[in-house]
Symmetry: C2
């Protein structure tokens, strides 16, 4: 524990995130103010705004990083990898990252599930992830509509695996659920 | 043309829709008022509100009908049909309906593409369609996660086919693009 170094606060971002999630869960997202978040974290509002543009960004600040890591994993898949395999590599990267932040992710999802506006924002995030993956596939030379279809199918797999991860009691790991859901998608599309 | 029957106005709904789409295209969705829509249609505001709760509903009033028809087509697919085939039947029903309303659909989509709030609403509509299809599959005895995955994959196919239909110059028919996109999804998921 290092502290008292001028205005630098140890793990200010993490403390703000945790304080925000607690307050959103206790009082609801709409009812919580930035002042309350800062107070709960033992920090100033000014410090809050050094890390987040507003209280919604506490929940969505990681989206850009997640997208960049997924696009990087897709781009870095072996040239010989089929489009769906390259997308699977991107999903596994996201799965490992989210699994590491399990508690944050679960708390975050509970807050989002309780607020229609946040659910809309989450859908937009997923749609924009699908667009980014499709663009990364086109960069690999995949044509249309294959690129968009593979990306959208990948996001569908991710969404279902994530929902199972949130709801299943046995605490299966997200990367494994992603593999299973992808296998299931292959099975259902092959059907008939 | 029948007219003058008391306060009954011939094809009031269609005239309001057309007037609204014209005004949204000319001045933007946000800038258009219900009063202007009614005036352009040669009707009163009161008549407008007999058909639509607000100006946004002109664009989304058909969503419930579309969902019911899709769920009906899925439920009515032969018992022997694989889940993906039952979803395909639902998509074809939607495709035929939208193809019939080609001009309305194209104008509507141009308005939505120009407004972030409407795009969000459209994403929510698609997510809720996926939920309805998954529920209809479960009613057929399909388990999870197969039901949700098949439904989400179907909506991905629909979304891509619809985008191609909007943008391609050769005016291919939407039902055919849906079949093609579904074939493409089968090919990409089988890959690797």
């Amino acid at each position: 524990m290092i502290g008292g170094m001028g205005r630098w606060e140890p793990n200010a971002r993490g403390r703000l995130e945790q304080a925000a999630l607690e307050l959103y869960a206790e009082h609801g997202f709409e009812q919580t103010t930035v002042a309350e978040i800062a107070e709960r974290a033992g920090l100033t509002e000014r410090t809050f705004f050094r890390y987040f543009a507003d209280k919604r960004e506490v929940l969505f600040a990681g989206a850009g990083t997640l997208r960049d890591l997924m696009v990087g994993a897709l781009a870095g898949a072996p040239e010989s990898a089929a489009p769906i395999e390259a997308v699977a590599a991107a999903l596994q990267t996201a799965g490992a990252l989210i699994q590491e932040r399990r508690e944050f992710s679960r708390q975050r999802q509970a807050v989002i599930a309780a607020n229609v506006g946040l659910q809309e924002r989450e859908l937009i995030k997923l749609a924009s992830l699908a667009s980014a993956l499709a663009e990364a596939l086109r960069q690999r030379g995949v044509g249309e509509p294959a690129a968009s279809l593979t990306a959208e199918a990948g996001i569908a797999v991710f969404k279902i695996a994530f929902e199972r991860w949130q709801s299943e009691a046995g605490q299966p790991e997200l990367p494994r659920l992603i593999s299973e859901s992808l296998g299931e998608l292959r099975a259902v599309t092959a059907g008939g």
